[in-house]
């Protein structure tokens, strides 16, 4: 499987480490009244779709960047690769 890195171009997936659902970016607000329940959902509940899935991949054997890879879990087709930093900033994250 080849991952088309937004900066470095096509790289073999063996250079990357899979970190699971990209929803990990959406860390709940610890000061919220529902924080306990939100963190339970954040830490333990995962969707397991047969189809398109947004995932976090870490370029461990490359430039150590975090990526959000949109991958079809049935075919391994990859439709989109983004820098996780850009995705987080689009969601309003500043840190």
């Amino acid at each position: 499987m080849i991952i088309n890195h937004p900066l470095l171009g096509q790289r073999d997936s063996s250079e990357f480490t899979y970190l699971g659902d990209a929803k990990l970016i959406e860390r709940p607000d610890p000061d919220s009244e529902t924080a306990t329940h939100d963190f339970y959902k954040y830490a333990y509940l995962r969707d397991n779709p047969a189809g398109w899935h947004k995932e976090l991949w870490f370029h461990e054997a490359g430039d150590r960047s975090w990526l959000v890879v949109t991958r079809n879990t049935l075919t391994h087709e990859i439709s989109k690769v983004e820098m996780a930093r850009d995705v987080a900033r689009e969601k309003g994250r500043r840190r």
């Binding site: 490359g62 150590r64 820098m83 500043r94």
Partner: protein, 187 residues
């Protein structure tokens, strides 16, 4: 008074040099290293200092082979700067004064071993060591990759038959062994 003797990454009093007919492997202990990471919101200030030091900000996958200071891309808004150790032993302190709050600077001289590979068999050796397209790379291209499970930087130098490998200093002997094995297999 202690009478201390510094040793190289491979444990010798002087840098190790292994000479074959087709390749020479040189332990280069004359390089001082420091990493520079632009701080969020201060990127422009960081670029300005880099430009002043190197002439240009190293682009993705590129090294700038400048006079005294050289630098190469490590990751997004991260660079490794190098300079002669004899004049820049305290490179991180020297750079921090220049970058101020625009970047985080970390001393890296004690973290890496620098091994230069010179000779006509350099591309063959590189192909045995890592999955870097060395024959497509031009002078100044740099890639971070894995050699025998060790994360290394591979830099294509100005000389056509020279490659620089920066690897983890704590496993310098293992990396050197991998290079020696590859050198033997390309003989």
């Amino acid at each position: 008074m202690h009478n201390l003797q510094t040793i190289t990454a491979l444990g010798g009093k002087t840098p190790r040099i292994d000479v074959f007919d087709h390749i020479t492997i040189i332990e280069n202990d004359s390089v001082a290293l420091a990493s520079v990471t632009a701080r969020m919101g201060r990127e422009a200030g960081c670029y300005k200092v880099l430009q002043k030091l190197l002439g240009v900000v190293p682009e993705t996958g590129r090294a700038v082979l400048h006079n005294t200071e050289t630098g190469f891309y490590m990751g997004l808004d991260q660079w490794m700067l190098t300079a002669p150790r004899v004049s820049h032993e305290l490179i991180a302190d020297q750079l921090k004064k220049l970058f101020g709050d625009n970047a985080s600077v970390t001393e890296q001289s004690g973290a890496w071993v620098c091994l230069d590979i010179i000779g006509r068999a350099m591309p063959d050796m590189c192909e045995r060591l890592c999955a870097v397209p060395v024959r497509q790379m031009v002078a100044g291209d740099v890639q971070r990759t894995v050699i025998h499970k060790m994360g290394c930087f591979v830099i294509r130098c100005m000389a056509n038959d020279q490659l620089r490998i920066l690897g983890p200093r704590s496993t310098a002997a293992t990396l050197h062994h991998a290079l020696m094995t590859a050198a033997t297999s390309t003989a």
